[in-house]
Symmetry: C2
Amino acid sequence: MQMSDYIETINKKLDEYIQIQYPEDIFKAMKYTVLLPGKRLRPVMCLETCRMLGGNIEDAIPTACAIEMLHAQTLIHDDLPCMDNDDYRRGKPTNHKVFGEANAVLAGDALLTFAPQIIVKNASNNITPEKLIRILCEYFHAAGAYGVIAGQVVDIESENKTPENPEKTLEYIHTHKTADLFKLSLRTGAIIADATDEQLEELTQFGQNLGVAFQIADDILDETSTFEQMGKTIGKDKISGKLTYVSLYGIEKSKEELNNLLDKCECILAKHNLKSEVFDKIINKIRLK
Amino acid sequence: MQMSDYIETINKKLDEYIQIQYPEDIFKAMKYTVLLPGKRLRPVMCLETCRMLGGNIEDAIPTACAIEMLHAQTLIHDDLPCMDNDDYRRGKPTNHKVFGEANAVLAGDALLTFAPQIIVKNASNNITPEKLIRILCEYFHAAGAYGVIAGQVVDIESENKTPENPEKTLEYIHTHKTADLFKLSLRTGAIIADATDEQLEELTQFGQNLGVAFQIADDILDETSTFEQMGKTIGKDKISGKLTYVSLYGIEKSKEELNNLLDKCECILAKHNLKSEVFDKIINKIRLK
């Protein structure tokens, strides 16, 4: 499957999974951010990992969509006035700007349990109850206080005071805020395809490297690109004194580390003889020229 | 087991399940509201339902605690400035007053996936994977946009504009905001004890009646009691023009309906020959003199 085919499948399913019903405001708010135009990177990685390891893509679709819903949840809450206070996301007004703060909080809350519900409700016959529980555990871990939330908490803390060890803190933030959802995508795709423990471990490392690389690229672009290119307010990190790769290491060293991490990703694929045009594309897109 | 034994067991387990670790702020914020002194009504009902139907209480403890965590989650987010904007809860400052708004949002988010994680991680050998998934589905349904969140959304909407059918709207709010967690407690306790379909259905009705009765009592107390008795700001519903049983039907008719619902609860227990001092106590406590 090509990248565009994946994206089409995912968008169709996301639209289908979130049916607008009473009370409409909450379902509309959930659907609004989930369906904002985006690269669908995380669900694509989940499906492609499954395919790459010989699994059936169909079996991974509910999980892939659930991960995109979880991602949207983090965006909705991160954009809130009490957090990053952002007005735009993917070029459109943020959730609370359209539906109000209360509904934005509740839409995020709703997505957190709607997503695993989708995984269970739409599980194919190939997914045994044991495997289903394993997938749910991966989801809970990445979504919660050990995962993305840990990253967001430390991110907020480090804005208010300079941490003792900024390098370590930044790595922690990037690992949890960004790489944890990448790892979730790869790990669940791999679990669905019955990966070996070794494959699972190496793909986790792949997700870690790719996630951090993605975040470094985002930090660089936040300084060098425009609103039109990014679809969100630009330069905010610098103004708010946020800890970023660029503020800590400068642009040149950041680019170096970015390329270094992406090289490691390519090595992992090569070592396991895993061929993937889709992952090649993703890596090349993140690799800044 | 006596009510006080249940409460002691639940408090001990809640304290044990939430270990403070890095990043400490988020775990402290989660633990703060979960461990505020309370009646632990929902987890007690889960354990007692399991016992009453011949199940093993130990098997229900993780689920009972998860329901209390979910309840705490709803309190944290409902108290936020963008929602009910409450400063006190159970006689103590609300979560955002202690930890700040951002951490309160994140602590609520974290609890939403921490709770089902507790159910899975601590599942006893008596809980088959199939049963575990059934319990998780009950949790997802009650926690999400079909459950408590639906109630909260309609509650907020009805504050801003008078609904076309206030009686029906109020019933909807009470059913979802309050009764859904009561039903969750009873249903999961029953499922763990291998209840028959008929028992499960009748206990769902029991939970519905008891939940609405509980909310009517709360509406009445909001008008007639003090801060010291309730541990939260009193009379706010009236000031904010909130739709309540008392505002809609008056105190006398509210008391009548309250007693009517509790009578129905007693009938269900009697019909199935279910003896429970704990439920008798709960019913008598809600029944206002």
